[in-house]
Symmetry: C2
Subunit: 477 residues, 2 copies
């Protein structure tokens, strides 16, 4: 537990909280007026407004007495609330089935079927308090013996490294190539598997994050097929982190679910002997809802033995049930207002506006970062993050060493203290060297500040960055 690190909520975020407190007491305490949290994908914290339809349904379900008030809410808000309450005895206040309300799981199954063109079984869907607890449940269950290991992308979202450490399992990193737009290096993947198995590790699963976090790349169907073949041949459970499935900004790289690609492969090959075990994770925290605080999500188990599903049920039942607000938010995400319904137009306008803005911001952030001295960045194709590479001088590296920090953390703290912008040092995501260059470092930043603020925030960032680069130019100390 001591060794475990969780960068996106680590030391820099604790320091940011202190600065936030100081600013509240004395607005002139720093050369900026507010802390801008780019450490984590938390859009509403940065001003994104909740969508109206889900807010209204949640409001009404919390106080069904409001149904007596005429015209308070559109009729489809009332109908949805009534339908959900009819299937949730005790409403938001009661424990539900440990796997989540069956009626809501049915709506998830219909959503998956509409998305993929292949049926889904509500009994193979588990509602969760966000994607993270789902991932933790599955990784905990995969870990049976010392020496059990899981392939994880490098760089990766630290949920995976932290969970593996907390259950005392090994993460085997496979490389995403920064110089190839964060594409998987399949040769390296095969090599890492063989090497790990050669040293006696029992490699049981492979984590894929698509769209990528922290890296923002989107997989092509061809890459996904290669991953699936690799997992089938190596008998690896595929853990597909697909929480950013709506956050794809490059028309040529639309989202495809691993389940769909796998089902298509089976259809085409007609080979029913090949077997894939797949868990796909989704969340209400990302997409265009950004309902992080609800802690709502689900996972679908595909090709998983019924005995294993029973064990998963038992494991999640110890927490009794996912929180009801998160469950309802899952329903509202997978079953939005449809054309013709009273809430449809507003819902479409709100989601369209958020999507277009995210798309613009992804491009803008990539451009801005690439304009910085010593920084190169793959423009994000999806998700909510950029993971730029920054070349730091030997002097900066030495100065970091003197205060006992890694160079990337030293840089991130400098940015925080001068601008109030919180970015996460890349070392929190990196499990093994990504490059041979000893002067190459990384950081992760979201592109979630509102557009009107982004330029202004970037001007501060640019100044602090230039200050840092000139302060530590050269090799002396």
């Amino acid at each position: 537990m001591r060794r475990m690190q969780y960068a996106v909520r680590g030391k820099i975020v604790i320091r940011a909280g202190e600065i936030d407190d100081m600013l509240r007491k004395n607005p002139a305490a720093f050369p900026f007026s507010e802390v801008v949290y780019c450490n984590i994908g938390n859009p509403q914290r940065l001003g994104q407004k909740p969508l109206t339809f889900p807010s209204q349904v949640m409001s009404l379900m919390n106080c069904p007495a409001l149904m007596k008030q005429p015209n308070l809410f559109p009729s489809d808000v009332v109908e949805r609330s009534q339908a959900l309450l009819a299937h949730m005895p005790g409403g938001l206040s009661a424990y539900t089935h440990s796997q989540g309300v069956h009626y809501i799981r049915e709506s998830v199954a219909r959503f998956i079927e509409a998305r993929d063109g292949y049926p889904a079984n509500p009994d193979h869907i588990f509602l969760t308090d966000g994607a993270s607890p789902g991932v933790k449940t599955i990784i905990s269950m995969l870990r049976q013996h010392a020496g059990d290991a899981i392939l994880v992308p490098n760089p990766q979202y630290p949920l995976y490294s932290a969970t593996l450490q907390s259950v005392n399992a090994t993460g085997v990193p496979y490389t995403l190539r920064e110089d190839k737009g964060w594409a998987i290096d399949f040769e390296n993947l095969e090599h890492m598997l063989q090497e790990a198995r050669g040293t006696g590790l029992i490699v049981k699963a492979m984590v894929v994050i698509n769209p990528g976090n922290p890296t923002g790349q989107c997989l092509s169907v061809k890459e996904m097929q290669a991953i699936i073949n690799f997992c089938v041949q190596a008998k690896l459970v595929l853990l597909a982190d697909e929480v950013y499935q709506v956050n794809t900004y490059k028309p040529k790289k639309p989202f495809h679910s691993f389940k769909k690609v796998w089902k298509q492969m089976q259809e085409i090959s007609g080979n029913n002997n090949a077997h894939l075990e797949l868990f796909s994770f989704h969340s209400v925290s990302k997409g265009l809802h950004g309902e992080c605080g609800r802690r709502g999500g689900y996972f679908e188990a595909v090709g998983i033995h019924s005995g294993v599903l029973q064990e998963i049920y038992k494991a999640v039942s110890v927490n009794l049930c996912p929180n009801t607000a998160g469950q309802i938010m899952v329903n509202l995400m997978v079953d939005p207002p449809t054309p013709g319904s009273p809430s449809f137009k507003l819902y479409r306008r709100e989601t369209y506006s958020i999507f277009q803005s995210l798309k613009r911001r992804a491009k803008l952030l990539g451009e801005l970062l690439n304009s910085l001295e010593g920084v190169t960045c793959n423009v994000p194709e999806g998700a909510m993050y950029a993971f730029p590479r920054i070349t730091l001088s030997p002097r900066a590296v030495a100065a970091a060493g003197k205060v006992g920090q890694t160079p990337d953390a030293f840089y991130a703290f400098h940015i925080l203290e001068e601008t109030g912008v919180v970015v996460v040092p890349g070392s929190g995501f990196i499990l093994a060297d990504l490059t041979d260059a000893h002067d190459a470092f990384f950081f992760r930043t979201t592109f979630l500040p509102p557009e009107d603020k982004m330029q202004e925030v970037f001007i501060r960032f640019h100044a602090a960055h230039s200050h840092f680069m000139s302060k530590y130019r050269g090799t002396g100390i």
Copy 2:
């Protein structure tokens, strides 16, 4: 994981769900019209109405636009919503501090201080998704090496046994004496500790559930002092499950928190060398709120080293934050409407009515159970459960064995199939024999069905019980 059992959501509950489904399709499928879930403390599922004040605040916070509607809600509902939203940037939709919103933790600290007369530190309070995840976090952190063990009451709430098994730690049972109103047998407690330590187990902590679950007893101050002295001398962390602190029905046995009793002991003795490490767990699921589905709760760490608190913070940060609705519900529980405020009278009437009804039902259930052939029951002093003892004939035991069930499960399934009432076999709570009698078994039942239904439910129960007892009377098969 396979060995792990979680009785209150186990096989009998899965069967109850099937019966529920069948009844929905064919109301005449069973000799009863509905399933009555007495397996778990889930009051709203059985018709208890949510309190009005928290429902209104939750509703308004989900849709702050409603504040524009005049006179929709009482002014204190509006004020509370505004105050909470002012301290929750992004409202219900955003991730909060991983430990929970500081403003809400401050309200918890004030609640504890008012309850105990001793100050509490918001930084030592962790908001959680209900008490269960808090317990799991602490037990996971206590478990460092194989052989680590924790003293747990016998009988106990299976959260403890299940969590211990899932982290591969050992539960060392200490006896609650059924023949002494479920009082702790201190001689046995001392003996179990010494025996466990003698066999090389590293006993690190002691779990106490007060008021008791499944047993419904309340601890006296004297017993609590003895427990504290025991923990201090044996250097055990005390895990105090105090989620039923409002559910005490015997005027002579009011609730005292372990923190208060410990602080008083320190004050009286003036001995500042003695040190107690204590975690106290609380929840919005029980009490008079019964907001189980929210998954809200907290724990307070008392006498815990700051380095340990930092590690706990890191561990909980991997789940990002407790769900916001649960956090808000904690605030509404610990800071209810005060005299003179617009919502006060209704709030007092609602809580008083629930409390008085629970108190009557505790007594009634005890009496009804004691009237059954072969059943004896300590009348519950607190919590929401009775844990009656039932003497089963050799014939019943043999019949159970023939179908591969434990006798208590065999009995519980009989009751379920004949009445629709779901009770939990005692073996799910029992870690070691409670009695020398081989014909003594137990089950747990809540007393949560509404009063008007309780008599009717009991008539069915009585008939099914009598049927069982006469069917299996004697020793043959």
